[in-house]
Every structure is written in structure tokens, then in C-alpha cells.
């Protein structure tokens, strides 16, 4: 069973500078085709100050922590045993190249299903931009098999 004393543990904030190259790389890797994700000159006349971050780009910010899987180390979980269970975003404002986004993340719950066969660890994250605007929240969990 996961060590539930880690419920509530907060991790160090991540400060992430959203760069055009990284956005293009992410959009390339996920097969985006819309030019608003690649070409600033195309995006700007459509009302975007710069390249737009796709909806799931936020995951990249999370992976930018010094130890992105630190929440596995604490309860001593083998990374080979985890699967992603769910990922729920709520969006409040767009993220563009040039933004500086701060991610705060904490373990909000741990629980099990099927009489302990599946152990869940649930994380809650907030993403705030350089103007102190909350741009998105994330509620996510992984399962230990």
C-alpha cells in the first residue's frame, strides 16, 4: 500500500519559460497541422500575440521539474509499475510563447481499488502566468499495478 502520509505533500514550484522552439517541437511530435502552432506571422493576425500552446502542452511544464518523478520516490514507487489513470484540465486563459508559467503541484489523495490490487495517487496542479493569472488547473492520477 502507498504511504498515505504523503497526502498533502507539496513539491517545489516549477518556473517554465514558454519558448517558440519548444512549442514547435511539441506540436511536431504530436502531429499538429494548424499553422497557429508553428507560424507566428500566421497566428498574429488571428488575434494571437505569439504561438499558442496546444491544450496538453502543460504536461511538458510538469516534466521540467528537476526530478519530474519525485512523487514516485517519496512513496517508493517503481516507475516501471505505474500507468496513467486520468488527466483532467480546466482552462482559464491561453498560454503563448513568451509567457512564464509557474506550476504548483501537490499530492491530493491516495486510494485503492479492487481490495488494494490497484493503488492510485492523485495530484492537483495549478498553472499561473507571469501576470499572476491562473491559466489552468490539472487533476491527475497514476495507478500502481
Amino acid at each position: 500500500m502507498l504511504d498515505r502520509s504523503f497526502i498533502g505533500k507539496k513539491y517545489q514550484s516549477v518556473v517554465f519559460d514558454v519558448e517558440k522552439q519548444r512549442l514547435r517541437f511539441f506540436s511536431l511530435a504530436t502531429g499538429q497541422t494548424d499553422a497557429i502552432y508553428f507560424d507566428e506571422e500566421y497566428a498574429q493576425p488571428l488575434g494571437h500575440p505569439s504561438l499558442l500552446a496546444p491544450p496538453t502542452f502543460l504536461t511538458t511544464i510538469q516534466m521540467e521539474q528537476d526530478k519530474p518523478f519525485e512523487y514516485l520516490d517519496d512513496p517508493n514507487i517503481d516507475i516501471g509499475r505505474i500507468l496513467h489513470a486520468y488527466q483532467n484540465y480546466e482552462y482559464f486563459a491561453p498560454i503563448y510563447a513568451g509567457d512564464r508559467v509557474t506550476l504548483d503541484i501537490h499530492i491530493c489523495d491516495m486510494y485503492d481499488k479492487r481490495n488494494g490490487e490497484l493503488q492510485f495517487c492523485e495530484l492537483q496542479s495549478t498553472f499561473t502566468n507571469q501576470n499572476d493569472v491562473l491559466v489552468a488547473t490539472l487533476n491527475a492520477a497514476f495507478v500502481v499495478r
Binding site: A29, Q32, P55, M63, P68, Y89
Partner: protein, 134 residues
Amino acid sequence: MWKFETANIGDEIPSLTLPPINRATLALYAGASGDHNPAHIDSKFAQNAGMPDVFAHGMLVMAYLGRALTNAVPQSLIQKFGVRFSSITEVENILTCKGVVSNIKQQNDTVKLTLELFVSDEADDIKLHGHAVI
């Protein structure tokens, strides 16, 4: 013909079918997303962990579904986007992303659409269920 402004309950968004997942797809996504979990790029690691082979990042599959979503509606209108992963996406799987309008709510002069979404492979195995509110 899909048009989100005039969508009705039961209308489907245009589906998106992806090329077969290969190891290069996964390596590229690992680099771009920063998710370097070796279970997605190193076959030996995956096999030692009891998996048949490397498998796709769940977030890659969600990103594909996000593409289907932003093809159908302007990204700025997406208020919520969530998924529940139900099975693993393996190398060579051909994924298709689909969505259907499940609810429409009129709020003052704005309309809120709820979409039920899912991604399945060539054998109709559902990889994830999703939902979006726009």
C-alpha cells in the same frame, strides 16, 4: 458537415485517424514532452517491468485527441478537457479519435457544449474515454 456553432446533441466531430505508432513517434514525443520514462523508449526496461514492449505515453494519445478537439472547435473556447485511460497503446496501433455532442446548455447568451470523446485502435479497443466542455 460539422459546425460547432450549430451543433446538435448526437452530432459527431470530424474523426482523426493517425499513422501507426512507431518507436520514432515515441522517442520524438519523449523529447518534446520531457517525459523520459524509459517504459516508452527502452524495450528491455519495459520487458523487465513485465510489459510486452514499449508502449505509448498516455499523454501522446491525449494530445492526439486534443488535435481532434481543436480541429473541431477554436482552442480558446475549450474550458475543460479530461481523459480516463483505459488501455495501453502499443507500437503499430492505428489510433482514431472521435467525439460526439452529449449535452447543450444555454446560459444567458452563451451556449455550453459537452462532448464525449474517445480514442480507439484498429481492433476497436478503447484506449481512453474523454470529455470536453466548450
